[in-house]
Amino acid sequence: MNHMANGEDVLRAQIASMLKAGLETEITPFPEDSNAFAQLLQRIREEAGSVLEKKLVIGGFTDYPMGEDQQRCQECMYYLNHRRWCDLPELDVPVEPDWWCRLWHI
């Protein structure tokens, strides 16, 4: 368990440094409706698979909250608060509460 938690922490730190280093991700367009959302998921499945960097890029990850409403993982439906984890099967990555991606959903 500890080993797994450590592994998750290491991966979270790795993602944090990729974002901090300025990884350019596709933050727009935000998927306006369920169809656009489904298409984006399909793209992640087809183009990214389990390749971390591609998931972050297509997902449009940022390491800060987004927009007027300050949208962020903390309130997103897929966020597991205690594990600090994105539970959306297509992403399935460790995150921080103040991050965001364009699959945000409440």
Partner: protein, 320 residues
């Protein structure tokens, strides 16, 4: 002894199948213990051909008193209002329905097709199907908004795709034992005893609903099915988590979203691609919120619930 006649229009027989699975009371108990005399039923009736025609004519003329007329399936009006796409016992079924509903003390519409038109009436509705007293949400249907059966009640609607056997048998028992007056109907003519609460009432996932933890795949035991998988439990009037199916389970207990089958708009969004088993959203917020909740309250509630959610809510707490 109450005489019951049951006919099927544009239907899949699902409600008959459901009814035949009834227990406590079973279909046989209805006859032996509750005095329901089944004049004819598509799967139970022994008569065929001219005998059925004569029986129907006798019901229409009053030679045989018709206490309860149960109709399953849509009233088919195609082509061009003639109804000949659905002939039965020598004439369009819709002509029998018109005359039998006028002769019956009580009329029961069973299942979504008979109540609102259901799947057959989904756009473009090629069979020109109607429910007995509704077409989807619109009051009127085949019999018209003012229809009342001889006992003075409108059509008693028991929706569902199919209806749970208990919803049917208990309504039939109430009518046959002279307690129809106790059946309070809602605006859509559904007995309130079954259709006042929601599918969500009694759902085992309510704590995940409250803490905003989402199930992301079918059959997952953790999480609520509302946020991602299109569960209509908070907007659907049904007792599916109070009166369990097969006395065992329900869709949501098994990890399958409620499709809202007891509501007149079912199947929702006319089955457009991507609309089934998927919560419809607009800019990341569900288009349809639980009944009585507005959007800004929903957003505030989400933020509060998420940050308050306990660790166990994120795990599978059910141990086999």
């Amino acid at each position: 002894m109450a005489n019951m006649l049951w006919l099927q229009g544009g239907a899949c027989s699902g409600n008959t199948m459901s009814f035949l699975n009834a227990e406590e009371p079973s279909a046989c108990d209805l006859v032996t213990d509750f005095g329901i005399n089944v004049l004819w039923q598509p799967s139970l009736g022994m008569d065929m051909g001219e005998n059925v025609q004569k029986l129907l004519r006798d019901c229409v003329s009053g030679a045989i008193p018709l206490d309860i007329f149960v109709f399953e399936g849509t009233v088919v009006n195609a082509p061009n209002g003639t109804g000949t796409w659905n002939r039965f016992a020598g004439r369009p079924m819709k002509d029998w329905v018109k005359e039998l509903t006028a002769a019956a003390q009580f009329v029961v519409a069973l299942g979504d097709c008979a109540t609102w038109g259901g799947i057959p009436a989904t756009a473009p509705n090629p069979s020109d199907s109607k429910g007995l007293q509704f077409l989807k949400k619109q009051h009127g249907g085949f019999l018209g908004a003012n229809f009342k059966s001889k006992a003075g009640l409108p059509v008693i609607n028991i929706p569902g795709c199919p209806a749970h056997p208990d919803w049917v048998t208990q309504v039939l028992v109430a009518v046959a034992t002279g307690r129809a007056g106790e059946l309070e109907l809602d605006d859509l003519q559904r007995p309130k005893t079954f259709f006042k609460s929601f599918t969500q009432t009694g759902c085992t996932r309510n704590m995940h609903f409250a803490y905003k933890v989402s199930a992301t795949e079918f059959g997952q035991r953790k999480g609520c099915l509302f946020y991602d998988l299109g569960c209509r439990g908070p907007m659907t009037h049904s007792p599916c988590n109070r009166i369990l199916w097969n006395r065992q389970s329900s869709k949501t207990r098994a990890g399958m979203p409620c499709l809202g089958c007891t509501e007149p708009e079912f199947p929702f969004f006319d089955l457009a691609p991507g609309s089934v088993f998927k919560t419809q959203t607009m800019m990341g917020v569900p288009k349809e919120l639980p009944e009585g909740v507005d959007k800004s309250a929903y957003i505030k509630l989400t933020a509060a619930a998420k940050s308050a959610s306990p660790a166990w809510a994120e795990k599978d707490i059910f141990v086999i």
